[in-house]
């Protein structure tokens, strides 16, 4: 059960090698979390992540999960929930793709969309049903500012996150009043493996800062969390720019 400060005792990470997710898990393990499930494609990276978390004192288990295989989601998540309540599901999988390359290779672009959006729709609905049945828990969905308004430079990724974001908001409204809380997290540019070698955008942040914001959001039972918080204002302005102006922005 979560405590008065929204701190979970058990959590499930979908996308168990995500740096943001692992930073969040480390933070939560330092507080109340004792049981951690890392779901992801079996890989040395997933095992290493599990080992590191065990070192922090958590009981960690891994479960095979592939966002691109929605048919398997029911079974994979069902296994986790069958073992006991999950106080927090962190939906953290996603790929950035390579915009220039993907524009030329539509199938690659589809893969981005399927991972970030279709996979999340499936996993999100499956998780939501289990959470609703247990009458409590948070579903934290890692969206992105890129989904707030699609940019020329990464609209494939951006559109997938836009879909995910809209889906998660709707899911949150659907679950309102059931005891289940859905929180959409919109980080800006996060310095991580995913963005390695890329030019840093303004208001860049770190996985640790996102983790801090998630912990705060859980305490406040926020529905939307921007990281850093200033992005909320910035994006609110950008959202209302006319297309002709937005197109010319050097972002």
């Amino acid at each position: 059960m979560k405590d008065a400060f929204g701190l979970p005792q058990s959590l499930l990470v979908l996308g168990g090698t995500s740096e943001i997710a692992l930073a969040t898990v480390r933070r939560l393990v330092a507080r109340r979390t004792r049981t951690v499930w890392l779901a992801g494609r079996p890989s040395p990276g997933l095992d290493t992540a599990a080992e590191q978390l065990r070192g922090l004192g958590a009981e960690v288990r891994t479960v095979a999960f592939d966002a691109l295989d929605p048919e398997s989601h029911e079974a994979a998540l069902g296994k986790v929930f069958a073992e006991g309540d999950i106080d927090l599901v962190l939906l953290a999988f996603g790929i950035l793709g390579d915009q220039a390359h993907d524009e030329r290779e539509p199938l690659n672009a589809v893969r981005v969309a399927q991972t970030n959006y279709t996979g999340a729709v499936s996993a999100g609905l499956v998780a939501a049903r289990s959470l609703q049945a247990q009458g409590h828990g948070s579903l934290v969905v890692l969206s992105s500012v890129a989904g707030e308004r699609a940019r020329r430079a990464n609209f494939i990724y951006g559109s997938s996150k836009a879909g995910l974001d809209a889906f998660a908001q709707g899911l949150g409204d659907a679950l309102h009043g059931t005891g289940v809380h859905v929180m959409v997290v919109r980080p800006g540019f996060v310095r991580s493996r995913m963005t390695e070698g890329m030019a840093e955008a303004p208001l860049a942040t770190t996985p640790e800062a996102v983790a801090t914001a998630i912990e705060l959001g859980l305490r406040r039972r926020s529905e939307t969390v921007w990281v850093p918080g200033a992005l909320r204002v910035v994006m609110s302005a950008l959202r209302h720019l006319p297309r002709t102006v937005f197109r010319r922005l050097p972002v």
């Binding site: 929204g6 701190l7 009458g135 409590h136 009043g177 305490r219």
Partner: protein, 467 residues
Amino acid sequence: MERRGDTVTAMSADTVPDADWSTVTGWGRTAPTGALVVRPRTYEEAAVAVRDCGARGGIARGLGRAYGDAAQNAGGAVLDMTALDRVHAVDAAGGTVLCDAGVSLHRLMEVLLPLGWFVPVTPGTRYVTVGGAIGADIHGKNHHVSGSFTRHVLSLELLTADGRVRTVAPGTPLFEATAGGMGLTGVILTATLRLQPVETALMSVDTERAGDLDDLMARLTATDHRYRYSVAWIDLLARGRATGRAVLTRGDHAPLDALPARSRVRRSPLAFRTSRLPAAPDLVPDGLLGRTTVGLFNEVWYRKAPRCSRGRLQRISTFFHPLDGVPHWNRVYGRGGFVQYQFVVGHGREEALRRIVRRISARRCPSFLAVLKRFGEADPGWLSFPVPGWTLALDIPAGLPGLGAFLDELDEEVADAGGRVYLAKDSRLRPELLAAMYPRLDDFRALRAELDPRGVFVSDLARRLAL
């Protein structure tokens, strides 16, 4: 239908209780969870609700005054017991009452005061049910004299997981597990209570100020035994030499001859009078109760208290339940809710109490109406909170940054001093500390495992702390 000692069977469709899915929180309004709220109107409906409560079990709930998650049950059933609210029999000569568990102490006062009787123990609110009072084994300002609530329970009827209704008497393991057992042994249906005789519905109150914590503890230690009721309001925002300054209010039921002659109260000395202000609004911004506002409030409260006054007459509601005058006062903490932290440390552990008070004061927790009291002898409930010593209770907005970690540190201090925190107030204890705080926990778990092997009775509190 026979209900005593028999498995209740043969339900017709019209005995299915009202049920409604909704989110439930405790009085602190933190950690909401969804549950099927069932409102049984008869014992039979309660039995149906327990029988049908499904894989995620059920828990009884009274008026929702437990601050944390004690009367919540995510995904399962919450039995709202307030429709079972009949006072069955009052023995006006012998001073006992038999009533349903859903009867509030407020209702009991309305019924009993005109007959010259008062509830044996009342907490800081009279809007708690008898069932809740037993489940949390509540205490009041008279703990040092009268012990906790279940000391005055002569008998109770408990609906257990197997569908039977058992009559439970003090001195039995089931009674001691149920007293303070947070509703996890079953659903209390009725109770017989021993009452306190009174001549009037007024209190004769002595008030004095204590300049700091040591002064306060000295006064409480020296003179508590002279009063039936004793409590100190302590200003935890005061710093420096004033750390722990407090207002002591102590008193007893006023005898008839203490009332002024030819006054209204003299003509009807046993009339139960209360007053209520408008309810607190639902939309209060978070952070209204910050250091400035609470500091100001505390300052005024301290200054307006007389340095020393004797024998002032007060209504029962003013003396015991000042916050009941503002319905929904818990809303003033805003949407983020609040946490009440209450612990007890034994006599001889005053140093731990001083350290904790200093830490709270140094941290400037915006806490108004913190309460310090000296407990008397403990009662036998296995998870009953009071033990002889000092108890401090304070409210803190849940949104205060770093509060969770800070309270964890206080827990360590409390546990190191052999103390414990109060489960009826808890919403955030680290589960690992529970066994150290409640040495009878294993007995409690063993009894539950035997009495309720399927785990029918469960609450969010029980899940969180693995009770």
